[in-house]
């Protein structure tokens, strides 16, 4: 069910006063929980709970022929499936626009931040490289799915081990002790604009009431920024810069929290 007029008005009224329906601060994230190694068959997996939003991400690897334009680089493929079990708005069937968008934001975030060292995923130039498949499954959508899914994705990649590779074949079920070649961990902070105020970690109702959103994927500590906006209201330069400074500041806290939780 889409947001009702009454609720939209109420949320805007509250946000303009600097309050929220669940009495959080405008820039406060909900309680974060992380569990790893939740899938026995996956090379790496993670379960993330942000408030009531739950997401599972899994990493599976395969040795394939590289693309011709990058013969010495590994391949990354991100896919998201929004199952009807997670929200009454999702339907089963081929991935819809929301699922494609979610997968793409995460794909771009990981790719552009150069989190994975693709060159080191080469087994033999022009013949065999590792392909990394990252699958995202929301278990429950209670808002802020992008941020939660991004945390699950990076944690799953961090926890993943490369499988054993012998006689030109991947030995599934046998993991080597080598982890994926990773660089600085990025984190995604999506800033929502509701009634001229900026809000982080919205609930589903708040997402509906938002004018637009801007997703920042930032690596720490070197602060490489990648940003993507959802269609909606246009933003002025000052607004974008303000959103960026919010994302930089709050993302740093989130980054530190994620690192402390997976230790």
């Amino acid at each position: 069910m889409e947001i009702s007029k009454i609720m939209k008005k109420k949320i805007e009224e509250l946000i303009s006063k600097g309050k929220r329906i669940d009495e959080r601060d405008l820039k406060e994230y909900r309680n974060l929980e992380i569990r790893t190694k939740i899938s026995a068959k996956a090379e790496g997996s993670a379960w993330v709970k942000l408030g009531d939003t739950e997401v599972i991400a899994g990493v599976k690897m395969d040795a394939i022929e590289p693309f011709r334009d990058s013969p010495d680089e590994g391949v990354l493929a991100v896919a998201a499936e929004l199952s009807p079990l997670s929200s009454d708005r999702f339907e089963s069937g081929p991935p819809g626009i929301q699922a494609i968008e979610l997968a793409r934001i995460i794909d771009r975030g990981i790719r552009n931040s150069e989190f994975i060292d693709m060159k080191k995923l080469c087994i033999k130039e022009k013949e065999k490289v590792w392909s990394v498949s990252l699958d995202i499954y929301p278990i429950n959508d209670s808002g802020s799915l992008i941020d939660a899914a991004f945390i699950a994705s990076v944690v799953a990649l961090k926890e993943a081990f490369i499988p054993e590779y012998k006689d030109d074949e991947v030995q599934y079920g046998e993991l080597s002790n080598k982890k994926l070649p990773l660089r600085e961990m990025p984190i995604n902070t999506t800033v929502y604009k509701i009634d001229n105020k900026f809000v982080l970690d919205p609930l589903t109702e708040e997402e509906d009431a938002a004018n637009t959103r801007l997703s920042f994927t930032i690596t720490y500590p070197s602060e490489v920024i990648n940003a993507m906006q959802k269609t909606g209201q246009e933003l002025t330069e000052e607004e974008i810069l303000e959103m960026e400074s919010i994302a930089l500041k709050e993302g740093k806290k989130l980054h530190a929290k994620v690192l402390s939780l997976i230790k």
Binding site: E2, S4, K5, K9
Partner: protein, 249 residues
């Protein structure tokens, strides 16, 4: 305003389904044999297999004379004729409105079932997309639900906020003869309408958002702890404390 309040109160009193001895009931799970022999009749939430009556829902067991039924503790809203519900307009057609009442099927409200003069050329003048209305289920058919507005207290909702709860908790929110909802209303000075489909509408009489949020918190408290003894008293205490805090600010 005052007249309106009286109307809504009347609505809820007719809706209450709760009986005494709630705390002593047994909890059953689907597949559990709850009675054997021909002395019992299968009621709601049960099915008969041979001589045995088996629970088909998770809930509280209730035996009245020969009838055995299960009052569910979880699950989606199943519409029933006579239920007062809160619905959202999702579509406007030439002869009525399609309304989402959180049931398996969308409900239909025909123009014929509305009061007063309606300009048939533009039905959005009456109710438009994403409006909320209090409405009553007139009839439930195999693939559709029919609604009516031709009754006292049924209207479009203006202002306030909406809380979504599990529909099986609705009798708890209302309480014995409407006692629980009356407590919340009196303490927070809010107008509250509880739909049987688990949607609760709250609007402060003083247009105070804080009080609406307090009422929302009280409702969430009831949903979380439905089996506490003396819950009405606890909710009263909770509300009085919260209101005190608000007044201090």
């Amino acid at each position: 305003m005052k007249k309106e309040k009286e109307e809504t109160e009347e609505l809820e009193e007719t809706e209450q389904e709760i009986t005494e001895k709630d705390e002593k009931r047994e909890v059953v799970v689907p597949g559990e044999v709850i009675a054997t022999g021909k002395d019992f009749l299968p009621g709601e939430g049960t099915r008969k297999e041979g001589e045995e009556i088996i629970a088909s829902k998770f809930g509280l067991l209730e035996k009245t004379d020969r009838l055995v039924k299960v009052i569910p503790l979880s699950g989606a809203y199943i519409p029933r004729a006579g239920n007062t519900v809160i619905g959202q307009i999702v579509d406007v057609s030439f002869n009525g409105w399609m309304i989402d009442v959180l049931a398996a099927h969308q409900a239909f409200l025909p123009v014929m079932e509305c009061f007063g003069y309606i300009n048939k050329k533009d039905l959005t003048e009456v109710y438009t997309f994403n409006d909320l209305i209090v409405t009553k289920v007139r009839a439930v058919k195999p693939r559709s639900v029919e609604l009516t507005m031709k009754e006292k207290g049924l209207r479009k909702l203006e202002g306030g906020m909406l809380v979504k709860i599990n529909p099986t908790r609705v009798p708890r929110i209302i309480g014995r003869a409407g006692s629980m909802v009356k407590t919340i209303k009196d303490e927070t000075r809010c107008n509250i309408i509880v739909g049987q489909n688990g949607l609760v509408w709250i609007r402060s009489d003083e247009n105070d958002v804080e009080k609406e949020i307090t009422a929302k918190k009280a409702i969430e408290l009831i949903v979380q702890k439905p089996f506490h003894e003396g819950l009405t008293e606890k909710v009263k205490e909770f509300l009085q404390e919260e209101i005190k805090k608000l007044n201090k600010q």
